[in-house]
């Protein structure tokens, strides 16, 4: 039995349209894949940057003569001066080192955690530079704190965190 030529033409056009749709779908899939790949690359870079930022902030704090007495020795009087400037000190420091981070230093020469203020210095052992809040990722570094009034160095920990 001979097929109807009109029906044959219709089915060939349908085949053709299906093929075009598949090709377009394949192209769109490739484009979506490349876009996803670029976004993933940027996200991975961003995640790596956050860790790098923590390490470099730690190094900056430990190496800046604004806060240290000599190389890698934080000065307790300088830290107290900075934290007693309240938010202004943090804002000015963040304008130099970048925003969205905090640093907490705790000297281990005293029991407990006594935040240093203008009033209780030197009978205190911790300093928080910029507001501590969640969520964040943080790393801890061993440092030294120079106790100016007693002229002694104490072991301390520096926690640096960036907000996620």
């Amino acid at each position: 039995m001979e097929r109807n030529p009109a029906r044959k033409g219709q089915s060939e056009i349908m085949e053709y349209i299906v093929m075009v749709v598949l090709i377009v779908a394949a192209i769109i899939a490739i484009i979506l894949f490349l876009s996803w790949w670029s976004i993933m690359q940027i996200e991975m870079q961003g995640s790596k940057n956050q860790n790098d930022k923590i390490v470099s902030l730690g190094q900056m704090i430990m190496g800046d003569y604004m806060l240290i007495n000599e190389q890698a020795m934080l000065d307790d009087a300088k830290l107290t001066s900075l934290v007693s400037m309240s938010s202004e000190g943090c804002e000015r420091l963040q304008a130099l080192l970048g925003a969205n981070w905090y640093a907490k230093i705790k000297s281990l020469d005293m029991e407990g955690d006594i935040p240093c203020t203008w009033g209780n210095y030197p009978d205190c052992n911790s300093w928080t530079i910029c507001e501590y809040k969640e969520p964040h990722i943080a790393q801890v570094f061993p440092v030294n704190v120079y106790r100016k009034l007693s002229d002694k160095a104490a072991l301390a920990v520096l926690e640096v965190g960036v907000y996620t």
Binding site: G9, S38, D75, K78, G98, Y121
Partner: protein
């Protein structure tokens, strides 16, 4: 005769093919441009990281990735309330924040090193990145000039190490001729020993390559301008003077050798908006230094107040601490744009340095270098 569906197929096929082809060409062009901009941003980020590493460790390094694309229009722009940003004019590259005090002059390969300005009570560290450059001096022969040039040379990196791919050198211009040390530009050590005994030369008229920066130190800067580069006036008793950039028409007040390095390194080369590279480096240098200097002075003043609470006025350290805190309170909070303000600033800085030194000598303070 062709069937109707064949004609439809052909027309539809042509329309679809052209549409797809057009879309692919546009997309691939866009994708290539995006990837190129992404790569450029990565290179700038890598450079900023490398500069930070040098700033933190003090270990100099070469940065050689700039050869891949054209970064000649890139410069660091200060921001009012956030980090300075590396910007590249006329490109689609995203601005890259730079959290290191950095003096940067672009080139295919740059040498990054660390320098410092010692204020006694505070040390300002900075990184400087520059390509192969020859600083050309046109000596006048006076002692003031020798002192100024010596202070500039001391802040320029020594690139005589075997591993340095960048060579920063020095030459002397005498009329139409340039004299080097043998076939090569003089090294830092060579020029420092030459400066002490050099004599006046005639005005420089030699044709200089793009990589040569003419630095003229003269009492008559302002009324006289060299053919290119910068003209640095003599300092007054507070160590402050004026400097001029050829083609700029502005006066730049300098108060420390790093101002002069910034002006000399940038020189009179202009961007498409007519701003000189020297002016851009001068701006970023002063923006970075003044923000840090002001905060450091405030922290140190408060620190001294804390110390003064705990010692009696009879203590031998007391008077020097009081004098130091008085001097520090005069630092910061101003724009420091004119000569008289800079005079006042340098007066306070010089006095504060002297008081801190006396505190160190009396054993009241430790040296910043751990001595």
């Amino acid at each position: 005769m062709l069937a109707i569906h064949r004609i439809f197929q052909m027309i539809f096929g042509i329309i679809v093919s052209v549409t797809i082809l057009y879309f692919l060409i546009v997309y691939s062009g866009q994708y290539k441009q995006n990837q190129e901009d992404f790569q450029k941003a990565l290179i700038l980020k890598a450079f900023a990281d490398e500069a930070k590493s040098v700033y933190l460790t003090g270990i100099s390094t070469n940065f050689t990735q700039f050869y891949k694309y054209d970064f000649s229009s890139c410069f660091i722009k200060p921001q009012t309330k956030s980090l300075p940003e590396m910007q590249c004019m006329g490109t689609g590259i995203a601005d890259v924040p730079v959290d290191t005090p950095l003096i940067f002059y672009p080139g295919k390969q740059v040498y990054i090193s660390r320098g410092s300005l010692d204020y006694g009570w505070w040390v300002y560290n900075f990184a400087e990145a520059m390509p192969s450059i020859t600083f050309v001096f046109n000596p006048e022969g006076s002692q003031e000039e020798k002192d100024v040039i010596t202070s500039i040379v001391q802040l320029i990196p020594d690139t005589t190490d075997d591993w340095s791919v960048v060579k920063v050198g020095f030459a002397i211009c005498d009329g139409g001729s340039l004299s080097n040390c043998g076939d090569q530009p003089c090294s830092k050590d060579d020029i420092l020993s030459i400066i002490s005994s050099w004599e006046a030369k005639t005005k420089c008229t030699a044709s200089l390559k793009k990589s040569m920066k003419l630095v003229t130190v003269s009492r008559s800067c302002g009324s006289f301008m060299p053919q290119s580069g910068v003209c640095i006036g003599y300092p007054n008793t507070y160590g402050v003077g004026n400097a001029y950039i050829q083609g700029s028409g502005k006066e730049y007040v300098w108060k420390d050798p790093l101002d002069l390095v910034a002006l000399s390194l940038g020189g009179s080369e202009k961007d498409e908006f007519g701003k000189t590279a020297g002016e851009k480096l001068y701006e970023i240098k002063n923006s970075a230094l003044m923000a840090r200097l002001s905060l450091a002075a405030d922290i140190t003043s408060r620190r001294i107040e804390l110390i003064l609470r705990s010692i009696s006025p009879d203590n031998p350290c007391y008077a020097s601490y009081v004098s130091l805190v008085n001097e520090l309170s005069g630092i910061g909070g101003k724009d420091y744009t004119d000569l008289s303000q800079m005079d006042g600033l340098n007066q306070h800085l010089n006095a504060a340095k002297a008081y801190f030194q006396s505190l160190e000598e009396a054993g009241c303070e430790r040296s910043m270098y751990g001595a």
